[in-house]
Structure formats: C-alpha cells, structure tokens
Symmetry: C2
Subunit: 185 residues, 2 copies
DNA sequence: ACAACCATGTAAGCGGTTACATGATTCA
DNA sequence: TGAATCATGTAACCGCTTACATGGTTGT
C-alpha cells in the first residue's frame, strides 16, 4: 500500500468511480498515469479493500465502477494516524541554474520565461478548480474543504513562482543594461 | 544520462570533488543518496566524461576525486539546449487533505503544524546557504549567481508554505470557536 | 564505549514513466 | 479521414530508497 493507493481509497469514500475518472480526479493532487492506477485498483479489489461492478454504456465504452468496503475504510483510517512524509525537492531548473555559468545568459532567460508561462498555466488551472468547487467548500466542516485548501496552496505556490521569475528577470535586465551603458560610454 | 548526472557534471565544472562532497553539495537542489551517486560517477568515468584520482588522507579515509573531461563539458553543453522538464507535484499532505473528512479536525491540525515546522526549518536552511555565499553571488556574472537565485527561490517557497499553514489554522480556529460559541448559548 | 562524521561501495525492491495493445464514439 | 475523448489493461525499463557491508577518525 503506497501513498497513491490511500489517495484513491480516499476519493472513493465520496463516490463510486471508474479507474479513468479516479485518474482525472487525483491528477491535481498527485500526478499519476492510468498504467499505474489500474493495477493498484485491481490489487485493492483482490485484497478486499474495494468492490467493483461493470457498468454498460451505450454512448461510451463500458466501465468498471469501484466502491470502498468497510475493510478499505478501516485501512484508510489507520493511515490517518501515521506520520505524513515531506515532499522531495527535485526540480531540473535548479540544476540548470547552478551550472548555467558554462553557457550564456540568453539560455537562462529562456528557461525563466518558460517556467513563468508554466506557473501561469498552473495558476489558471488551480483557479479553475477553485471556481468549480461548491460554495460550502470554504467551511472546515465541508467534505470539499480539503480540496479548497490544497487548491489554494496551488495558487499561492504558482503566484510565488511567477514572482520569483519576475525577480530573476529584473536582476538580469538591470545587470545587462548596466553593462551595455558602460560599453557605449 | 539522467538529470542528476548532469547536475553532478555541472558541480564538477567548478572544483575537483569527491562523491561524498558532491552528495552534500547537490542536496539543496536535488535530493539524492550516496547509493545513487557513486554508481553514476563510476559510469560517467567509464564513459570518459570524468577522470578520477585517489587522494590519501591521514585524518580521514582516502577519497576518490573526480574532474570533468572535455567530453564531459561537451555533454553538459548539449544538455543546456534541451527543454527543461517541469517538476511533478506529489505531496502526501495533499492526499491527506482531500480525504481528511473521514476523520476529525484534530489530526488535520497536527499535520498543518508539523508542516509549518518543516517549512520553517527549510527557510532557515536556505537562509543559511544564502549567508554562506560570497557577496558577488548577487551579480548575474558570478558563477554563484545560480545558487543565489535557487536558494532565494527556496526561501520564497518556504515563506509561502508558512503563510498557507497560518491561513489554514486561522480558518479552522474561526470555525471551531464559532461552533463553540453557538453551543454555549 | 558509543555516537557522529567521513568515505565508498553493492543489492533488492518499489514507484513511476514510456511504450505496446485494443476498441468504441464523437466531432471537425 | 483523422483527431480527441472515453475506457482498460500489460510489459519493459529507469530512478530512487532501503538495507547490507566495511572501516577509519574524532569527540563525548
């Protein structure tokens, strides 16, 4: 039972869902592909944590709908009282930055601009998720409160990222304009 | 050649270093264990990207010092012109949050407090790294400029994290104080 | 004595990505 | 006709973690 398994179990405490739908719903909080999710669901079914039924559809392909069992809920509750792990920092941009001196500042400018675009798309993504939440989500008693606070975390992180990109660009511009000025004198 | 390999190559363009030292230097930017780094260095040596020599020490165990070769520098330069990948978001706390409704708000309060402590230790860590950089690091022309901006990114991210934790605690407190007030009436 | 730090390695196993494989429906 | 979305699976491979393994020095 890895972390992703518990996340899927958690989503299934809300609604009966298909593997495909779970993949889409877990994406904003934990990046996972269908090839990882389907085997996990099968194994949890074998272990009696989930029950499943096939639902026939006419307009779309048939799907397998999963539901949590009591045993699954118990497993989830046990997890709640274990320590929460902290995320490992592993961003390629960091490594690019620490060895950018082997090349020129133009490539660095492009990395920062691309990253700013990415942060902006992330910001729009989390804002859209927040907009789609029911109004009651802002109340700590709501079942959507968790989504509300993690999506807000997403927007805050994205905003900080954008801010950082602007800051780096500002430093670069100031430096190279100054150099340009001294050269023309 | 994975991302970590290029990061090690980049660090080695500055100084000749041992595997142990590289492990310590890469940690702030890319979390990696010695068991992953040593085999990578061996393979890069076999591929002619690095050269190595053993240095005898009297007070400490002997160490193997690595240096980048011209072929290694070329490999690093090629990498500089490939697209930068974006980090995958995978934080256990997010998954805990989205299924916290199966349990009580007390456990959630503990997760947030623990995470705030972690962010605070991260902040102190990056501030210490910044303090140890030479003054010239703030100049985009300095070889330490990359370190300066990524460590600053670390402090900004940590500060945002702390802010978020306070915000969540504020929401929780307001809600449960209000509930307490209505109950005593 | 014991812990902490320095220093280097190997092996097993898990988590995640990429690619392979199939197939229906809808829309441009 | 071709691309996009829905839908489910398997197999190979890579990256990273955990554990195993060794051994010297320094400080409490």
């Amino acid at each position: 039972m890895n972390i992703l398994s518990y996340g899927l179990l958690g989503l299934l405490t809300r609604d009966e869902s298909s593997g495909y739908d779970l993949m889409l719903r877990i994406q904003p909080h934990w990046q996972a592909k269908h090839s990882q999710i389907y085997p996990i669901l099968s194994r949890m079914e074998d272990d009696g944590l989930l029950s499943a039924r096939w639902v026939e559809q006419t307009d779309k392909p048939d799907k397998k709908m999963y539901r949590v069992t009591d045993k699954g809920i118990q497993k989830l509750l046990d997890w709640m009282y274990t320590p929460v792990s902290t995320p490992a920092l592993r961003d390629e941009l960091n490594l690019r930055m620490i060895c950018f001196q082997v090349t020129n500042p133009i490539v660095m400018k492009r990395w920062v601009d691309e990253r700013r675009d990415w942060f902006e798309s992330r910001l729009a993504y989390y804002e859209a998720l927040l907009a789609n939440l029911p109004e009651e989500a802002v109340q700590p008693g709501s079942p959507y409160f968790g989504e509300y606070i993690v999506n807000t975390k997403g927007t805050m992180t994205a905003k900080t990222g954008i801010e950082w990109c602007h800051w780096v660009n500002g430093l670069m511009n100031a430096h190279y304009q100054e150099r340009e000025a001294t050269r023309t004198h």
